[in-house]
C-alpha cells in the first residue's frame, strides 16, 4: 500500500518536472540547441524509434555483459581478499591504483587494445562496475563484528563457514546498494566509450547527432538511455527487495 503511494508520488514529481520543462521551453521559445521542448523530444524519439531501438539494444547488450562480468569479478575479488587476507597487501593497492584513474582515462587505451567493437565497451563497463561492487562488497564483508567472528570460530566454524553464514549475509545490503548504483554507471560508461569510438549504439547516435547539429535527436537518444537505465535500476532493485524479503 505504501509502496503504491510512493510510486504515485514519484510519477507526480516526474510529471511536475516535465510540465515545468515544457512550459519553460515553450514559454521562452528556447531554441533546440539550448533546450528543446519535451513534446518535441518525444515526437523525435517516436519518429526515429527504429534507429533508437537498434542503438539502444547494442548499448544495453554492452552494459549488461559488462555489468555481469564486473559484478562477478567485484564480489569474487572482495570475497577472495576476505578469505585470504594475505592477498590484501599486494591486491588492494593495485586495485586502488587502477581504480583511482578515472574510468574515462582508460578509454583511449582500451579502444586501442580491444578495438572499436563491442569488446572495448564491455571491458570499460566491467571495469567501472567491478570497482563499484568490489568496494561495496569489501566494506560489507569487513563490517562484521570481530566478536561474532570469534564466537562462530569458537563453535568450530571454518573461514568458509564464517564467510557464508556471517559475512555474506551482513554484506548483502551494501553489495546490493553498490550493485544498484552500478546499474546506472554501466549505461553511462558504455555510452561515453561509444562516443569516442564505435560502430553503433546510443553513444554513437549522440556523437553523430551533435556533429550533424540535431539536438532534438541527442535528447531523444538520452531519453532512451535513461529509460533503459531506469528499467535496469528497477530490475536490480526488485531483485534486491526479494532477496531481503527472503532473509
Amino acid at each position: 500500500m505504501t509502496r503504491h503511494r510512493g510510486t504515485l508520488r514519484g510519477i507526480l514529481g516526474g510529471v511536475l518536472l516535465l510540465t515545468v520543462w515544457e512550459a519553460v521551453a515553450r514559454g521562452f521559445s528556447l531554441p533546440a540547441y539550448t533546450l528543446p521542448a519535451v513534446s518535441d523530444i518525444l515526437a523525435a524519439a517516436w519518429q526515429h524509434r527504429a534507429v533508437l531501438a537498434a542503438a539502444g539494444w547494442i548499448t544495453a547488450q554492452e552494459a549488461l555483459a559488462g555489468y555481469a562480468i564486473g559484478t562477478i569479478v567485484g564480489i569474487g575479488l572482495a570475497g577472495l581478499l576476505v578469505v585470504a587476507p594475505l592477498l590484501r597487501g599486494p591486491v588492494l593497492p593495485t586495485a586502488m591504483a587502477i581504480n583511482s584513474v578515472p574510468v574515462v582515462a582508460w578509454s583511449p587505451l582500451v579502444l586501442l587494445w580491444l578495438g572499436v567493437g563491442m569488446g572495448s565497451k564491455i571491458a570499460m563497463v566491467a571495469l567501472a562496475v567491478g570497482f563499484t561492487v568490489f568496494l561495496s562488497a569489501l566494506a560489507g564483508f569487513d563490517r562484521v563484528d570481530r566478536r561474532s567472528v570469534d564466537l562462530m570460530r569458537s563453535f568450530g566454524a571454518g573461514p568458509a563457514g564464517v564467510f557464508w553464514r556471517l559475512r555474506l549475509p551482513a554484506a548483502l545490503p551494501l553489495i546490493a546498494a553498490g550493485m544498484r548504483v552500478a546499474t546506472v554507471r554501466s549505461l553511462i560508461v558504455a555510452i561515453v566509450t561509444e562516443m569516442l569510438g564505435a560502430y553503433g549504439g546510443l553513444g554513437w547516435v549522440i556523437y553523430q547527432s551533435v556533429t550533424l547539429i540535431d539536438f532534438v535527436q541527442v535528447w531523444s537518444a538520452i531519453l532512451v538511455a535513461s529509460a533503459i537505465s531506469l528499467a535496469f535500476f528497477g530490475l536490480v532493485g526488485a531483485i534486491e527487495r526479494r532477496v531481503i524479503f527472503w532473509r
Binding site: 531554441p31 533546440a32 583511449p108 578495438g115 569510438g197 564505435a198 560502430y199 540535431d214
Partner: protein
C-alpha cells in the same frame, strides 16, 4: 623598510599594470571558440593575441579551445562565444539548414583538408578498387565527399563498407581496414611517421572535382549586424597574426607550445606548414588569407544538395559574408 613603504611599493606595483588597463577600457571583451584542441592549426590566432593585434583592434580576446562533442556553431549561436572557428562550409550549411543564426565571415582552408589513404603496396590503385573494401571516415562531411567521389567512379554505397572513424588511425596501420581518412596536417603525419610516406597511396578529393573549404570563421547574425567594426577588426587582426605565423613558423610553433607545452614539436611544425599551404592555396593566392570564395562554396552547396545531405537550397548570400574581407585593402590581406 617599514610597513608604509611596503604598502606604497605594493601600490606602485599594482598601479603599473593598471595604466594600460585604464586605457583599455574601450576594449570590447570577446571570445574565440576553436574547432578543436590547442595546436598549430590555430597558430595565427595565438600569435595575434600574443602580439596584441586584437587589442590594437579594440578587442580583448580570449581563445577557448574546442573538444569532442562541442559544436562551435552551437556556442556562437547561443552567444556563449563571440567568434568561432567551426568545422567548415559543410557544418555552416548544416547549421543554417537548422536555422542557427550564424554567418561565415572567413574561410581558412581553401582546399579540402582531408585525403583518403590506402596502402601503396595494397590492391587499391584507383577509386574503382574501393569496391568491396572497408573504409573508415568521419561522418561529419568527409563521408559525403567520399560517397560523391565514389559515385563518380561508378560505385554505389552498397559496393563498399563505410565505418565511422574516431580517435585513432591504428586500425589502418594494423591492416584491419583498407582505407582511412586523414587531414593533411594531422592524421597524415601520424600515418607517415608510423608507416612511411612511400607506403601510402593518397586520394585527394580536389583531384576528383570536389572541393570543400573548411575551418570557417563564424559570428552570430546579431554580432555581424550590431558590431560590424569589431568583426572587421577581428578579421584584420587574425590575418596579421596568421601572416606572422606563416612567415616565421618557429614563432607560430613557439607561441602555441607556450600554451600547450606537452605537444610534440615535430608534429606541430608539420601541422603549421601543411595548414599554411591550405590557407594560401587556390583563390587565396590572389584574394588573400581567409578569402570567402563564393563559386567554390556554391559548388560544394550544389554537391550536397545533389546528394541529399541538405534537403532544400540555402540562401548562401545570407550565410556567407565575403564583404567583411572586401572592406580590408587587398595588400593587407595577402599572406
Amino acid at each position: 623598510m617599514n610597513r608604509r613603504h611596503l604598502l606604497t611599493g605594493l601600490g606602485a606595483a599594482l598601479a603599473l599594470p593598471a595604466i594600460p588597463r585604464a586605457g583599455a577600457q574601450t576594449l570590447t571583451r570577446a571570445t574565440l571558440r576553436l574547432k578543436w584542441l590547442t595546436q598549430t592549426q590555430f597558430a595565427g590566432f595565438y600569435v595575434a593575441v600574443q602580439k596584441g593585434y586584437y587589442r590594437e583592434a579594440g578587442i580583448d580576446l580570449t581563445i577557448n579551445p574546442g573538444g569532442p562533442n562541442l559544436l562551435t556553431e552551437n556556442l556562437v549561436a547561443s552567444g556563449a562565444d563571440t567568434f568561432g572557428l567551426s568545422g567548415g562550409t559543410d557544418s555552416v550549411f548544416a547549421a543554417r539548414e537548422r536555422s542557427l543564426p550564424i554567418v561565415c565571415t572567413g574561410v581558412m582552408h581553401q582546399q579540402t583538408p582531408f585525403v583518403f589513404v590506402a596502402r601503396a603496396d595494397g590492391p587499391i590503385r584507383t577509386l574503382a578498387d574501393f569496391r568491396g573494401k572497408t573504409i573508415t571516415t568521419w561522418f561529419t562531411g568527409a563521408n559525403f565527399v567520399l560517397l560523391g567521389m565514389l559515385a563518380e567512379a561508378g560505385l554505389r554505397p552498397t559496393d563498399f563498407t563505410m565505418q565511422p572513424q574516431q580517435v585513432s588511425v591504428t586500425p589502418f596501420v594494423d591492416g584491419q581496414i583498407d582505407v582511412v581518412t586523414a587531414t593533411r596536417y594531422n592524421e597524415f603525419y601520424t600515418l607517415m611517421t608510423r608507416m612511411g610516406r612511400d607506403k601510402l597511396r593518397v586520394f585527394v578529393p580536389d583531384d576528383h572535382g570536389i572541393t570543400f573549404p573548411r575551418d570557417t570563421v563564424i559570428v552570430s547574425e546579431q554580432t555581424a549586424r550590431d558590431k560590424p567594426d569589431m568583426v572587421k577588426g577581428f578579421m584584420q587582426a587574425s590575418i596579421r597574426g596568421w601572416r606572422d605565423a606563416l612567415r616565421d613558423q618557429k614563432l607560430g610553433v613557439d607561441t602555441v607550445m607556450a600554451v600547450a607545452p606537452t605537444l610534440a614539436r615535430p608534429h606541430q611544425e608539420f601541422m603549421l606548414e601543411e595548414a599554411g599551404k591550405l590557407m594560401v592555396a587556390g583563390p587565396a593566392a590572389t584574394n588573400g588569407l581567409f578569402w570567402v570564395d563564393m563559386p567554390t562554396i556554391q559548388k560544394a552547396h550544389d554537391f550536397f544538395l545533389r546528394n541529399g545531405v541538405i534537403k532544400a537550397p540555402l540562401d548562401l548570400a545570407a550565410a556567407y559574408k565575403p564583404d567583411v574581407l572586401a572592406g580590408i585593402p587587398l595588400a593587407d590581406r595577402m599572406a
